[in-house]
């Protein structure tokens, strides 16, 4: 709308030509200022002209027009839009004596507005005008207009009463003249829209004249319908039938004039609102100059939430006392909405979609069910009309549609079934309702890992374990029960460990179907890892996409704190606690922002820096010390085991490792007392990095020990030994977590509740718990090769952990006090799971498979120099068979070829570089756009300031004649109510009458 005001500026600005130069927004307002400073005189002079002009009568034809004319000092600043609306028509401007610069300038703005890139996506009323007026722009560019400017005929033409005559005018092609006519008719209506904000003021309780106007409520509300109906039309559709426009105009405009007068003393606010609408419009418009306005398009899209814009953006907002739902449509158009042009447009856009997309699009409409249903019906009807025409003979299409319907139905029921069997739905909801999304994210992560393991288990079970079962030898070892902990003894000769698997080709029956266990083993593990890799990669990419949308962050996140209230929480105490926490957090955040501006002294900075350094030094030192301890312990373990014949002695190493994992993270979290981070987020990240460093380096050192010492020691079946070690580590970790949950957390609660009440309940430490999960998962991935049943064990432990953690959570914890950036943290966790953990696993397994010699007497790879030789042998055997030569070719040229990988890497690098450059470009683009938006805002504020000043001035000027005015105002209002219904007829008749005499 502010753009619209500017147009007024053109016309009323005495030195207009200047203004056309200054269209560039940065100094545009200076000119507008000129206009606003001297509106009265201009308007007064301009005003009589429309009256004397036959055309103006044609446009306006309003009943109230004469009345408002009778008003002594009609031209308030509020009238500007109204009047200039009519004037913005070049005909009109032309008739205003020799005011040519004005009429010249007008096409100018029209031209700049009616760029096609904007069609249909406008929210601001000003824009639609451009569509209506676009013919002018066209005429200018074709030179006709310019001709008419210098041509005195132009005036004649304007003065000519007969419109058809004008059509015959040589300067204007007939068609254009034709289209001009409706355009001019619509103009007043548009002007009406410009006044709407002032109408709001009437709706507000503080309206000064309200009590004197018994009819006013009626009079205020009624016009809302036509306007609302009207709005889509003048905002979106240029080719809406003229007659309807006219009618709408008749009913709304008449009231507007009277109201306008009423609201002379209007408060400023509504107009401000109205401008707010337009602001984005300005941005959209001016950015057309940008060669790539991708981002801008999305901006436009944002400002037009589909059809929803219609009722919602309608500036005809009324106060809370409004009987209408302000959002959505006025009641009248509620169910008729789909008949409105906007609805029609939506329907038209829905028709070509596929039925699935269509349903989705309808579902996404922010409308009531009834409206959506109608919309769907309409679209279906239209669709069937179309399809009858198109596919009358094509029964294939029908067949297809019925198939797709059946498919949809079956998919629905399938997803329902999945929904039904999906684990822990209800438990998760309860957790969410009590602890919010952040704690919920831990459990979701756990569930996600569980799914991973279930999948791995199914794969290994069906391709390795079942075939092995069929040829399993009798297990002679004795089961004592301690094996459950140590994983040794009885379990050594079961499908659990690598050593039990056969290297033979399994044949049953007559030997037609054979199953090579060696290949099955390596391919199954490989496929498992590859699938894990891709699913990790994809989920990580999804999280990254969702969470790092904006390249640079403008905000500190207070807006998020306020708007992201966790609606999932439905527990009363939880809500109260959350509110309390939120209040402390908000206070903290604010004080943080204050502190940020405070520069620390050099001394303080030094102290802080040294504290950080010391903490890092200590934490790294502790981690290294732990690693060294683990390494020496592991190295001496074999000797220790020889001395101690007790089978439980093997548990020493896992016990120590688990102790380290339990104790050191708690030590790390004590560091926060020393180093004070300004932002809690930094603290969390530092803690996470230290913890993950510790855990990964311990696993790393263990891997080194296994691969370099255990594997090289020449022990019998070293793979099984490694498998057992991993099993013990995993189990011990599980036992420690159980103990921690049941004892540690329970004791902590007792202490917090009974003895030291100042401690209170503890908060659930999501980071630590998630890291434990990551640690366990890393072990499982490494161990799958040596102990194929490990995913199954992890499945069980996770399953138990879920319930244990759930119970412990409900009993011992309170919701976290910090608003946790759950999504960002989740991204970080999945990244951690991918980067050090999964990548490390891949490296370890790659070394194992390519570099290590499998043990000679057990396992599927016995007798081979390296694990990978099983593949080489297979390729060799395939190359003897001509029908499988393609596999050999693929292997030799793609998988086994260095050149292929070299070229592939090169291509990937080039693509990455290009994408990186594109992102850089986009960043610059975004920064520019952001700056532009800020400039627009400044621009707008300046204009608004000017307008307020002007209004104040006027108010002061008018206070003297205020009482007089009011009396005058009452009359038209009362009249209006009577004549409202007949407004259209009368208006029409009058226009005919006024045309006739001229003829």
């Amino acid at each position: 709308m502010s753009a619209y005001y500017r147009n007024n500026g053109y016309e009323e600005d005495p030195d207009y030509p200047d203004y056309s130069e200054s269209w560039n927004r940065s100094w545009g307002h200076l000119k507008t200022q000129d206009y606003t400073d001297s509106p009265d005189t201009l308007k007064n002079s301009g005003y009589p002209i429309p009256r004397s002009n036959p055309y103006s009568a044609d446009y306006r034809t309003s009943l109230d027009y004469p009345k408002s004319l009778a008003e002594p000092d009609y031209p308030g600043s509020q009238n500007n839009p109204e009047e200039s609306g009519t004037r913005s028509n070049p005909f009109f401007a032309g008739s205003r004596s020799s005011d040519y610069p004005t009429s010249l300038a007008e096409p100018d703005y029209v031209g700049s507005w009616s760029k096609p890139s904007h069609s249909g996506s406008s929210r601001e009323p000003g824009y639609s005008e451009s569509q209506r007026n676009s013919d002018f722009g066209g005429s200018r560019s074709s030179g006709n207009y310019a001709g008419s400017r210098t041509n005195p005929d132009y005036l004649d033409y304007l003065g000519e009463p007969d419109y058809p005559g004008a059509q015959g005018n040589t300067n204007h092609p007939g068609s254009r003249a034709n289209s001009n006519h409706p355009g001019s008719r619509r103009n007043p209506e548009h002007a009406g829209s410009g006044i709407i904000p002032y109408v709001d003021v009437l709706g507000e309780p503080d309206y000064p004249g309200a009590e004197n106007q018994p009819n006013s409520p009626n009079f205020f509300w009624e016009p809302d319908y036509p306007r609302a109906e009207n709005s889509p039309n003048f905002w979106g559709k240029p080719d809406y039938p003229v007659t309807e426009d006219g009618r709408d105009y008749g009913s709304s405009e008449t009231s507007e004039i009277t109201r306008e007068v009423l609201s002379r003393t209007s408060s400023f606010r509504p107009s401000l609102r109205h401008r707010g609408d337009g602001s984005l419009g300005i941005v959209g418009r001016e950015n057309e100059d940008y060669p790539e306005n991708i981002a801008m398009k999305s901006m436009n899209m944002a400002s037009v939430p589909g059809a929803s814009g219609n009722g919602y953006v309608n500036p005809a907002y009324v106060g809370e006392s409004s009987p209408h739902p302000v959002y959505g449509n006025p009641p009248l158009s509620g169910c008729e909405w789909h008949k409105s042009p906007e609805g029609q447009k939506l329907i038209a856009s829905l028709i070509p979609m596929t039925s699935r997309d269509r349903i989705k699009a309808i579902r996404n409409q922010p409308r009531t069910m009834e409206e959506k249903r109608n919309l769907r019906k309409m679209v279906d009807k239209e669709k069937s009309k179309h399809s009858h025409r198109m596919f009358e003979l094509n029964c294939c299409a029908q067949c297809l549609s019925s198939i797709s319907r059946a498919y949809r139905r079956s998919k629905n029921s399938l997803s329902e079934l999945l929904d039904y069997i999906s684990l822990w739905q209800k438990t998760l909801k309860v957790i969410g309702s009590k602890f919010g999304t952040s704690v919920l994210s831990y459990f979701n992560f756990l569930r996600w890992l569980l799914k991973f393991n279930i999948f791995s288990f199914i794969v290994t079970f069906s391709f390795i374990i079942i075939p092995q079962f069929t040829v399993a030898e009798k297990n002679t070892l004795q089961f004592t029960g301690l094996e459950l902990l140590t994983g040794a003894g009885y379990f050594r000769d079961t499908v659990m460990y690598y050593g039990f698997y056969t290297n033979s080709t399994i044949r049953h029956g007559n030997g037609r179907a054979s199953y090579n266990m060696q290949l099955a083993y390596i391919f199954t593990i490989g496929a498992c890892l590859i699938i894990c890799f891709f699913s990790l990669l994809f989920s990580m990419a999804r999280y990254f996409r969702n969470n790092f949308i904006n390249p640079h962050i403008y905000s500190r996140g207070i807006a998020k704190l306020i708007f992201c209230w966790d609606f999932t929480v439905t527990n009363e105490t939880a809500v109260k606690l959350r509110q309390k926490n939120l209040s402390t957090e908000i206070r903290e955040n604010l004080s943080e922002i204050l502190q940020e501006n405070v520069k620390l002294t050099l001394n303080q900075q030094l102290i802080r820096l040294s504290a950080h350094l010391a903490a890092w030094f200590v934490s790294t030192g502790v981690a290294v010390a732990c690693c060294v301890a683990v390494y020496y312990l592991a190295e001496n373990n074999s000797e220790f085991l020889k001395n101690h014949k007790d089978p439980g002695a093997v548990l020493l190493l896992p016990f120590i490792v688990s102790c380290i994992n339990l104790a050191v993270p708690r030590l790390y979290s004590l560091f926060r007392l020393v180093e004070r981070y300004e932002m809690p987020r930094h603290e969390v990240y530092t803690l996470l990095i230290r913890n993950i460093f510790l855990k990964i380096s311990i696993i790393g050192i263990l891997c080194y020990y296994w691969l370099n010492i255990v594997a090289q020691a020449g022990e019998e079946c070293w793979e099984t030994l490694i498998g057992q070690e991993i099993y013990r580590l995993l189990l011990m970790d599980f036992v420690f977590s159980l103990a921690d949950s049941f004892l540690g957390e329970f004791l902590r609660r007792l202490i917090g509740m009974q003895f030291i009440t100042s401690l209170g309940l503890q908060e659930f430490d999501i980071a630590r718990n998630v890291l434990e999960l990551i640690y366990a998962q890393t072990l499982v991935w490494i161990g799958t090769f040596f102990c194929p049943l490990l995913p199954f064990i992890q499945m069980i432990t996770l399953f138990i952990m879920f319930y244990v953690k759930n119970i412990s959570l409900m009993m011992n914890f309170q919701p976290p006090s910090k608003a946790w950036r759950a999504s960002q943290m989740m991204t970080f966790f999945i990244f951690l799971l991918f980067f050090p953990s999964f990548t490390g696993v891949l490296c370890t397994l790659a070394i194992t498979i390519w570099r290590l010699k499998p043990s000679a007497d057990c396992g599927p790879f016995r007798g081979l120099p390296f694990f990978i030789h099983s593949i080489y042998g297979w390729i060799d055997s395939l190359s003897k068979r001509p029908s499988y030569l393609w596999v050999v070719w693929i292997y030799q040229n793609l998988i086994g070829s260095v050149h292929f990988f070299f070229i592939l890497t090169l291509i990937v690098l080039i693509i990455t570089y290009l994408y990186w450059q594109i992102t850089e470009g986009r960043k610059i683009m975004i920064r520019l756009l952001h700056e532009q938006i800020i400039n627009e805002g400044k621009d707008k504020m300046f204009l608004i300031e000017k307008l307020t000043k002007l209004q104040d001035m006027e108010k002061r000027a008018n206070t003297s004649s205020f009482t007089q005015e009011r009396r005058d105002v009452e009359q038209p209002g009362a009249l209006y109510v009577k004549e409202h219904d007949a407004a259209f007829d009368l208006r029409f008749r009058r226009s005919v009458q006024e045309e006739n005499p001229k003829a």
Partner: protein, 185 residues
């Protein structure tokens, strides 16, 4: 989830509801049951209505600080028909698309319904979030200023829908937290 009884709802109706909302069959039936339990017995579900008080005393909404706003936004003439309840549940369901959620969140937060989230709205939001009476005027203005600083792109001291959408689209936490489970209780 499994405890929902089957009710006589026409198959076509059910399918239509499924198509028009983000809810699954089971959820719709559950909401249907809850709805029938609340409204006077013997009424056909399509004609029955719930008052806003009844809806805001649902377990899912009872303690929500914005329950009255939610009710206002989703009800028609201050009563809820079955379809109103359904569309409310649909917007708050996990499957609902972000743009829909943002749209309705904006309506909910727009207390004075002027089409903008202005300072007044923000202060009311904050008061409801903190739910304490000792929120100082300074804190409120400070907070609103910060929020506007962050999200008000064109400096008009209020958030238009697009500004709000822009701010929320950057925050995936919003999608996760703007959820209410209306069924299964």
């Amino acid at each position: 989830m499994g405890q929902c009884l089957r009710h006589q709802m026409h198959c076509e109706d059910l399918e239509e509801y499924q198509a028009l909302t983000f809810l699954t069959r089971n959820e719709i039936l559950c909401i249907h049951d809850t709805f029938l339990k609340l409204c006077p017995p013997g009424k056909y579900y399509k004609e029955a209505t719930l008052t806003t008080d009844q809806v805001s005393s649902l377990p899912a909404l009872r303690v929500n600080p914005f329950r009255d706003r939610i009710c206002k936004v989703f009800s028609h003439n201050n009563v809820f028909s079955f379809e109103d309840v359904l569309s409310m549940a649909s917007v708050f369901s996990e499957q609902a698309c972000p743009s829909l959620k943002i749209e309705y969140a904006f309506r909910i937060y727009d207390f004075n319904e002027n089409g903008f989230i202005d300072e007044e709205d923000l202060q009311r939001i904050v008061l409801r979030l903190l739910n304490s009476d000792d929120v100082s005027e300074d804190l409120l203005t400070d907070l609103t200023n910060h929020v506007l600083n962050e999200s008000d792109l064109d400096n008009d001291n209020m958030l238009s829908f697009s500004e709000f959408e822009h701010a929320m689209a950057k925050s995936p936490d919003f999608m996760n937290s703007f959820r209410i489970h209306f069924w299964g209780f």
